[in-house]
Symmetry: C2
Subunit: 277 residues, 2 copies
C-alpha cells in the first residue's frame, strides 16, 4: 500500500505525464530548458519533504524541504505550486482526515514558523510571482529568507500569508477555501475511465475552462489568461483540438501552471480515495 507521501509523489509524476495539457510540460511536450526529465528528478527529490508532512512535521518545514529536494535538478522550478497545495493535503491524509474540513484544520494550525519556512523555500528556486502589496514591499516572497524578520514582526502565520495572496493566486485560494477545486476535480478523476494520463488531461482542461489560471495572469497578463480559458472551453465543446492548442501554447510559452498544480492535488486526493493505477 502506498502511503500518503508515495501517493503525493505519484501524483506529481502522473500530473506531468498527463497529455495533452495545453501549455504545460507533459508526456509529449517540453520546453528546451524545462524538460520532462527535470520533472522526474524534481518528483524524486520532493519525496523527502512529502514524507516529513506525512510524519506530522510542521507544514512549512515539510514544504521547504520538498522544494529544496525538487530544486536539485537543472531545469529550475518544476512543481513548486503543486507541492504547496499537496503538502497540507498530505498532512491531512496522515491525520486520517483528507476532507475539506481536515485540510482546513491543517491550514488553521499553521504558525509564524511555517510562514518563515515558506519564505525560505523561495531561496531554493526562482518562481514567477506577482509583486507584493504596494504597502508591504518587505513581504515580497522574492526576498526569501530575508523577509523572515518582517514576518515575525507582523506575527503572520502561513494561513495569513495565503489569505493575503488568495485573490491573485489560485493555489493560495485553495488554502483559504478548503481546497474546494482540488476535491471537486478529484471526483471527476474518480468518475472517469480509461488510462489516467487521459483522465488527467480531461480534468486539467475542465479546471482551466472553469477559471482563469493565475500563473498565466502573472506571466502573460489577464487578456492571455482569459483567452486560454476561452479556448479550453472550446476544446470541451469540441470546437478546438486539444493537441493543436497544446502545441500552440507551448510555442507561445503560455503555461497554465496553477491549473497543473490543482490537477496534481486532485490526483493525490483521488489516489488516496482509491483511484487505481
Amino acid at each position: 500500500m502506498r502511503d500518503p507521501a508515495e501517493n503525493a509523489q505519484l501524483a506529481l509524476l502522473l500530473e506531468v505525464s498527463g497529455t495533452p495539457k495545453p501549455g504545460n510540460v507533459d508526456r509529449h511536450r517540453e520546453y528546451p530548458d524545462l524538460r520532462f526529465e527535470h520533472f522526474l528528478a524534481g518528483a524524486v527529490g520532493a519525496r523527502r519533504g512529502l514524507a516529513r508532512a506525512a510524519e506530522g512535521a510542521p507544514v512549512g518545514e515539510a514544504f521547504e524541504r520538498g522544494v529544496a529536494g525538487m530544486a536539485e535538478q537543472t531545469g529550475g522550478n518544476t512543481q513548486f505550486g503543486a507541492l504547496l497545495v499537496l503538502t497540507p493535503l498530505v498532512r491531512a491524509a496522515a491525520d486520517n482526515d483528507l476532507s475539506p474540513e481536515g485540510a482546513s484544520d491543517v491550514v488553521a494550525s499553521t504558525i509564524v514558523d511555517d510562514a518563515c519556512a515558506f519564505y525560505r523555500a523561495f531561496d531554493h528556486v526562482d518562481v514567477a510571482v506577482d509583486d507584493p502589496p504596494a504597502d508591504a514591499p518587505e513581504l515580497d516572497v522574492r526576498r526569501g529568507g530575508d523577509a523572515v524578520d518582517a514576518i515575525r514582526e507582523r506575527g503572520l502565520t502561513l494561513a495569513d500569508v495565503m489569505t493575503m495572496s488568495a485573490d491573485s493566486d489560485g493555489v493560495a485560494a485553495e488554502w483559504t477555501s478548503g481546497f474546494r477545486r482540488s476535491f471537486e476535480a478529484a471526483d471527476w478523476l474518480l468518475d472517469g475511465d480509461g488510462p489516467i494520463v487521459r483522465r488527467t488531461s480531461s480534468v486539467f482542461l475542465r479546471l482551466l475552462a472553469d477559471e482563469i489560471d493565475t500563473f498565466v495572469v502573472t506571466r502573460n497578463g489577464e487578456d492571455v489568461a482569459a483567452e486560454v480559458t476561452e479556448r479550453a472551453r472550446a476544446v470541451l465543446d469540441g470546437e478546438e483540438d486539444a493537441e493543436s492548442l497544446a502545441d500552440e501554447l507551448v510555442a507561445r510559452d503560455v503555461n497554465p501552471g496553477t491549473t497543473a498544480d490543482l490537477t496534481a492535488a486532485a490526483l493525490f486526493i483521488a489516489l488516496e480515495r482509491g483511484l487505481e493505477v
Copy 2:
C-alpha cells in the same frame, strides 16, 4: 543530494522515459495493458526496497521488497529485471564502492536466505522466464516461495542461483561478470551530451546492437532476438530509423526488456558518478 535509493528510483523513471527504445514502453509508446503510468507507479512503489538496500539490508530481502512495491499497480511486471540488477549496485554504492569489484563483493556476500527471498519475489508478479534446467524442475522460479525448501536443501546462495542462469539471462550474467555491461554503458551516458531521454535511447540501442536480448529469446525465440540485434545495428549505421523500428516492435510485441534493465543500471551508475539531470 540524492542518496543511492533516490538515484535508483530516478534511474527507473529515466529508463522508461528514454525514447525511442525500440520494443519497450517509453515516453511515447506503450502497450494497451502495460502503460507508462504503470511504470510510474512501479517506480514509486519500488523505492522502499531500494532504500532497504541503501540501508544495508540483505540484498534478497531488499529486492523482494522492491518487487512487492513495484507490483502495486495493475500493469503487472514493469521493472523486475531492472530491480534485480539495481539492488546489488545500490548496496555497493551505499558501501561507498560502486565499482565492478565492489558490486562483485556484494554478489559474493549473498547467502541462502537471499536466494529464498529472490524466489519469493516471483510470488508478487508474473515474470516471463525460461524453463528451469531439465534436471532441476524443483528450482523453477515460477514456483516462487514453494521452491524455498529445495533452495535450502541444496544450500544455494543468490550468487549460485544467478550463476545457474547466467548463460540464458542477461541480468544474471551481469551478476556473474562484475556488471561489466552496466558499467560500460554508464560511461557512454557520461560521455554523451544533450537531454538524457535521448542519451538513454542511444545507450539502449548500443547495448542491443552489441548482444542479443535474452528476454526476447525467452518470449519470441532466438531468430527474433538475432533479428532485433541486427536491426539495432542498422539503426546505429544510419540504415534504419529508430522511431519506425520502435513502432514496429511494439506492434509485434517484441520487447527487449533485458536491454532496458541494463540501461536502468547504467543510468544509476552514471547518476552516482555525476550525470547531471
